[in-house]
Amino acid sequence: MGLINGSLRDVNESFVQWQNDILAGYGQSVVVGHLECHLGDAFSRLQPLARGVRTRSLLLELGEWVAYFDNSHLGTDAAGVAAVMATRLLTTAIRLTVRSNKIKRGKGASKLGSYGATIFEVFEGNLRSRRSIACANDGGRWVFEQHGAPFLFEDLAAYASKKVRERFPPYLLERYVHEFGVDPFSERAYYAKCDGSVHGELVEIVGDLPKTITYVTLAAARKALGLE
């Protein structure tokens, strides 16, 4: 997922402008629909999930931040969006990835499942990240990488853990995110207006979509990721 510091109105306006600018060259544009509903209903509006480029994006108000999700069948790819929105709005944006390692190795290994990853990227008004930390199974080999100067709140000792896969656990990422005054892992945080609804915008790409896109159901996507 992505987090963009700013109001829903400003983020949505800039995101839609950017998307329409770049998509025009492909015979595409976006249509926007305002959402005031339960969180689960908002997520369901991302379906069907797309195999190929994303076709739907969801912007949800999250206090002074906006949470970003897309309808990729493998989960949101927020790195590019976070970088561009941070640059366009001269603000802070964060890319978060937390994925359980559910891949099987060796003979007879299943093609279902997913490679584990905990990735934290902070962009501050620039396309290049101010700070990135990643601990991930990169297709069969665990890697730990960090770039940029550490924030004062970071637990640098954790990065020296003997086992590579333990150097950046999800709880640490969650702690780091809280330092920015946002709690994307709490459902309640999305209901900040106390009117029983989350507030957001669904941005859908329409027009001459790539013919290579295929769609999968949420159930099929979850099964492929080893979540069921």
């Binding site: 492909y26 190929g52 480029v53 989960g75 990835t97 490679y115 990853a117 990227e121 290049r128 290579t212």
Partner: protein, 215 residues
């Protein structure tokens, strides 16, 4: 600068990069008549001068040098030079043994299609700051133009986000039009580019490969 005038195109017999590409990736070479399709260029890419679907073009600062048919191996190869004229003839001496009938290597054919997540793109592609800067410029372009699943120095993944090879393109990403692009950055003295391009194209026939020469 590349001319639009077909008469200026040299060496239509597929010399230069062609033998290396053919040998490495099983891509057939043939004479190709250049028609008005040469003007159907660009795909909004700032570096690439000309693109013809299904045809490989090597581009140097002195113009188009060699053209081969990429259709047999699939994909599209565009070679661009931002610094010096590309000497396609000296490129691609690498050999990739054991290729299948489709030009794919056994280790690529057998790879689990499940793709890992894209890592942060600050990763280096080389020990050369020049090549790394060029790669980061490409990453920045992709971000600004709305590309998705951008990867730097990670295993090859196609537009459907399936892992299709264990080779590691320097930069890869998918355009909003759904086309997967692979970008390689090499010095003019490097001989690896054509081999890498052939392998990437064999693994993803619908993708486009861009070879950049940076010195």
């Amino acid at each position: 600068m590349v001319s639009d005038n077909p008469e200026t195109f040299a060496d239509l017999d597929g010399h230069g990069v062609a033998p290396a590409v053919c040998g490495a990736g099983g891509i057939a070479c043939k004479n190709e008549t250049i028609s008005s399709t040469i003007n159907n260029a660009a795909d909004n890419h700032p570096i690439i001068t000309q693109i013809i679907l299904g045809v490989v073009i090597t581009v140097g600062t002195e113009g188009i040098g060699d053209i081969i048919d990429a259709a047999a191996g699939g994909g599209e190869l565009i070679e661009a030079s931002s610094a010096t004229t590309t000497d396609a003839a000296s490129a691609g001496t690498s050999t990739e043994g054991g290729a299948s009938a489709t030009g794919r290597l056994p280790q690529d054919v057998s790879v689990n299609p499940k793709a890992p997540d894209p890592l942060p793109t600050d990763r280096p592609v080389s020990n050369s700051p020049t090549q790394n800067n060029a790669a980061q410029s490409e990453v920045a372009r992709m971000k600004q133009e709305g590309y998705q699943d951008i990867r730097v120095n990670q295993q090859q993944v196609n537009a459907a986000r399936e892992r299709v090879g264990v080779g590691r393109p320097d930069v890869q990403g998918t355009s909003p039009g759904g086309v997967r692009e692979y970008h390689e950055f090499d010095r003019s003295t490097s001989t690896r580019g054509a081999g890498h391009a052939a392998r990437a194209m064999a693994n993803d026939p619908s993708g486009k490969v861009f070879l950049h020469t940076v010195d």
